[in-house]
């Protein structure tokens, strides 16, 4: 069974097609101008329907984004700690080499 979004999309697609052909077959600009609001509304519904088809697929929340930011900060802090450790080891290694030579 088709869901509501699919049915809405298919209906919007049909409506745009029908009204657009009718609009283009009107030779007079005034007649086209009279039909333009209905045509515009059909296009608007079509664009919304495409968006509504995709939107339910988005499952990442604002809370997830905040947690990602937090995890990024943890990695950053770990990087700073590691920088310090590496620097300390290098200093220690340098001092040890000096002591060995002496």
């Amino acid at each position: 069974m088709k869901d509501t979004d699919t049915l809405t999309f298919e209906e919007a697609s049909r409506t745009v097609q029908d009204i657009d052909i009718r609009y283009r077959l009107l030779d007079h600009p005034d007649d086209q101008e009279d039909l333009a609001p209905a045509r515009d509304a059909a296009w608007d519904s079509y664009s919304k329907a495409r968006l509504n088809l995709l939107k339910p697929g988005v499952i990442t929340t604002d809370e997830d984004l905040a947690k990602m930011e937090d995890l990024h900060n943890q990695v950053k802090a770990a990087a700073e700690t590691q920088d310090l450790i590496v620097a300390a080891i290098r200093v220690a290694a340098f001092l040890a080499r000096l002591a060995i030579r002496a």
Binding site: D3, T4, D5, T6, F9, S13, V16, Q17, D20, I21, R24, L25, D27, H28, P29, D30, Q32, E33, A36, P37, R39, D40, A41, W43, D44, Y46, S47, K48, R50, L51, N52, L53, L54, P56, G57, V58, I59, T60, D64, L65, M68, L71, Q74, V75, K76, A78, A79, E80, T81, Q82, I85, V86, I89, R90, A92, A93, A96, R97, A99, I100
Partner: protein, 358 residues
Amino acid sequence: MFNVKFRYLNLINMMILLMVTGCAGKAQCLKVAVGQFETESLAAIQAIDDMHKKELATETFSSVEKTYLFVENVLKSSRSADQNRIEHWLNPYKPGVTEKTQAEWIAFIDELKNQYVKFASIYNDIERASFTGRELVPKGIQYIENLIAQIAYFAKSVDEHPPKLLNRRGALIAELEKLRMKIEEKIAKADRNKIKSINKLSGIERSKAIANLSPRLHAVRKKWLTSLADANERQAIAQWQERWLALVAEEDELKRKTVEQCIKAVTIGLEIRKKMKEYNQISLEDISEALNRVLVLAGTVTGENYSRLQAQADKVFKDIKNDPVWQNATDLALREVNKAIKAREKAAQPESDASTGQ
């Protein structure tokens, strides 16, 4: 003795440095792979955005055609010129999507892109935190799972609801209808001439002519339709068919490209997720091999014909569906679908009540 202690200290320092730099190789591979996932995911989102823009795009007019259209509209219209009308005379075929709907679409695309950029940014400093931050790597799995499920969902949605270049379809169909109407006018004129010649007859001859004409009118009209189309009109119809087939092929290509890019991002994401899960057990060789696979995967999905691509997409969807780890993400997606449907039904309820006067 003192010197020996320092030698040991130096050795320990070297071992720690080796461990740290060993981890750095793994972390570097992970960062490159995550960066590749970000690139392909952003390309997939861009492909969806481009696809929708093309759906709304009008046919292209040369500057000569645009000027001709404007002059015709100005001369034919019986209404006075104002800013809106001039815009209408200039662009009569532009689809009128409201600013609000356009803004919703842009916000949707921007928000999606932000999610993938944010995920990749988690691992920006992972090389420098290769040793101290190694336990943090698997913590990103839950986020990449959702992000992969999203792109897979979009691929499925585009596959099931392929893009249609409706504006250009409308232009072509209207063109064919106008051509047919022109030929129909010729038939009507021929009809009138025939009736005139029948009216000139009298008595039995006239009755015979009318009897002969009426039952076979439909068939005769059809025959005229064919016979009255001149060489130019026939050529125009043949050219129209070519343009129609080219348009349908363009739509198929647009769908193929969009789905292909989504599947590429999903496939790479799945590979990275697998390695993130085993990150602390695997060696540098394992992860660099995985990185290689990621880079190869990015190339192999490209250029597939659609049936092969669809088979690949089906396999990815099946893997996601069957893996219990994914159950949460897919369930969540389904729950969101149901929630959205219910919310829309609820919103539509008062309107229908109002319209029925309840």
